[in-house]
């Protein structure tokens, strides 16, 4: 009979690390309160000191030069200067957002969460990738805006002539590479396929002619630059043994993106003057677009 009351082993719940826990009141809510107060005061102070901009009333007849989108879209506006519009403005950002959203489905290892830079060498990888993103993007911008050619000429005195036109900008390649005339007559399904189109300039889908060189400078080279740079970076860091896990690959990709994104935003915001020419920020002057006052 006595056996009936012998305690059976009970599956115990995993012990919670109660010693490591603190109470939300007061330990968290006070920090939140202080953070909110600091920001409230900072925003108040900023708003007392700096007024929100208000220019002249909107006028569709008067176009300021340069006309710019809100600053957080100027990275796209900067990209637009270098490649096919649909690609820069819509396709690349959409694909990138998709890639970012897919991060957790690519890196499914729960290991290394909840701590800053959880893997070995991740700080080094972050720094290197961000630096490559920054330097690489500036290099591409300088090349495509003709500054690289200027710098080469300044330093070496070589002007290059027609054969080196490609150093001036990417689109110059279009005039340099031979492309048979007959190929221009082949039509293909265009990239800027327009259905549901209406309004001025609309019509049936405009078929484009096969022009490999145009495709190369507008889409090919930019794609190679972006995908190639990222892939090469991950590959190299993998070969030297830094990138080990998928998490590492993502750190490289994301840090490179942050670097490039920062440069594009900065360049589009501060370094683009009239006619979207690359200038020093202190040389940038905005023309109001009023005739006689440019």
């Amino acid at each position: 009979m006595a056996t009936a009351v012998v305690a059976r082993p009970v599956a115990r719940p995993q012990p919670r690390a109660r010693d490591e826990e603190v109470l939300v009141w007061p330990d968290l809510v006070f920090i939140e309160f202080i953070a909110a107060m600091v920001f409230t005061i900072a925003i108040f102070a900023l708003s007392f000191l700096v007024n929100a901009p208000l220019l002249d009333q909107a006028n569709s007849d008067v176009t300021p030069n340069p006309s710019k989108a809100p600053w957080y879209l100027l990275n796209l506006q900067e990209l637009l200067l270098h490649m096919n519009g649909a690609m820069a403005g819509v396709i690349i950002p959409t694909i990138w957002l998709g890639i970012m959203a897919a991060f957790p489905y690519f890196d499914r290892d729960p290991e290394g969460q909840g701590v800053w830079f959880g893997t070995e060498r991740s700080i080094k990888m972050t720094a290197v990738s961000a630096a490559v993103g920054v330097v690489g993007t500036w290099f591409l911008i300088l090349w495509d805006s003709g500054r690289m050619a200027q710098i080469i000429k300044m330093w070496t005195g070589i002007s290059g002539g027609d054969r080196f036109r490609f150093l001036e900008n990417v689109r110059a390649i279009q005039t340099q590479l031979p492309w048979p005339d007959w190929a221009h007559h082949i039509t293909y399904l265009p990239f800027n396929l327009k259905i549901l189109d209406e309004g001025p300039g609309a019509g049936p889908t405009t078929f484009q002619h096969l022009d490999f060189v145009a495709w190369l400078v507008e889409q090919g080279i930019p794609i190679v630059a972006m995908v190639g740079l990222a892939t090469t970076l991950i590959y190299v860091l993998w070969r030297i043994g830094w990138v080990v896990t998928r998490r590492d690959a993502l750190i490289v990709l994301f840090s490179g993106f942050v670097g490039a994104y920062g440069v594009l935003t900065l360049s589009g915001t501060a370094f683009r003057g009239q006619g979207q020419l690359l200038q020093w920020p202190w040389d940038v002057k905005v023309s109001e677009g009023i005739p006689g006052q440019e």
Partner: protein, 250 residues
């Protein structure tokens, strides 16, 4: 042997007693300051505003350098933008004839109008920056990993919604900055293959920025997008709790 007498209550004591130990106050705040662990947990669990939080959390998560409060501050900016936005709505009419004059009016004749507009503007910029930094924080702490995969996706959606909220607000002052920024911005959207021109037309309600665009952007800015963002935020916060709070090393 003299027995120690209790000190006579001071004026401050009596004032405190009057203010906080009365029938009305206690009907609102049922307990006094929660000074026992039990009451501190109860106040979190039973208060409608605070019960978003768990009652306790791991000590590493209250270190400011773990999160820099970025997610919470993004939400705080959203709340501040709602408050200042409502105040601005009192004076603003989304019509091409009035919008610009209304903004001028807000700045010059409305009490604290300039301040409200400034705060709305700077908080909007701050929110874009904070949301982006929050994304970076979550990435570099590996907080998107299982089981929080989908909450990261919700976060990406909220990032886009933040951009859209800011973008739709940009047109409303109806000055040259607004007009041409939206012209450039919607031209970018219009360059999309297949659906681009139609998307641009839907956004603007026409072929160029005008009255139709203003009313569309206004409606999206003050009700459409905030509602959608609020729904996604609710899901975002709810899932943080469901997934066991902030990510922690296994």
């Amino acid at each position: 042997m003299a027995v120690e007498q209790p000190a006579k209550p001071t004026f401050a004591d009596r004032l405190y007693d009057r203010m906080f130990h009365n029938y009305v106050w206690k009907s609102i705040f049922r307990t006094g300051y929660p000074n026992t662990p039990r009451n501190q947990m109860l106040v979190i669990a039973t208060n409608v505003f605070l019960h978003l939080h768990p009652t306790r959390l791991h000590r590493t998560h209250v270190k400011v350098t773990h999160t820099y409060c970025l997610g919470g501050l993004s939400f705080f900016m959203f709340l501040g933008l709602t408050v200042t936005g409502i105040l601005l709505m009192f004076y603003y009419v989304p019509s091409v004839d009035r919008a610009y004059l209304d903004i001028q009016n807000i700045q010059t004749t409305v009490q604290f109008g300039q301040l409200m507009r400034n705060m709305h503007r700077w908080m909007a910029h701050a929110m874009v920056i904070l949301v982006f930094l929050h994304m970076m924080r979550v990435f570099y702490t590996g907080a998107y990993k299982p089981p929080r995969e989908f909450n990261w996706v919700v976060g990406v959606i909220l990032l886009v919604l933040t951009f859209l909220l800011s973008f739709t607000g940009y047109l409303l002052p109806w000055d040259q900055l607004a007009f041409w920024a939206i012209t450039v911005g919607t031209n970018i959207a219009g360059s999309a293959p297949v659906l681009g021109p139609k998307t641009r037309f839907w956004l603007l309600g026409g072929f160029e920025v005008g009255q139709n665009s203003l009313i569309r952007f206004y409606t999206l800015h003050v009700i459409g997008l905030p509602l959608i963002a609020a729904i996604f935020m609710a899901v975002h916060f709810w899932r943080i709790r469901r997934d066991g709070g902030l990510a922690r090393p296994l």
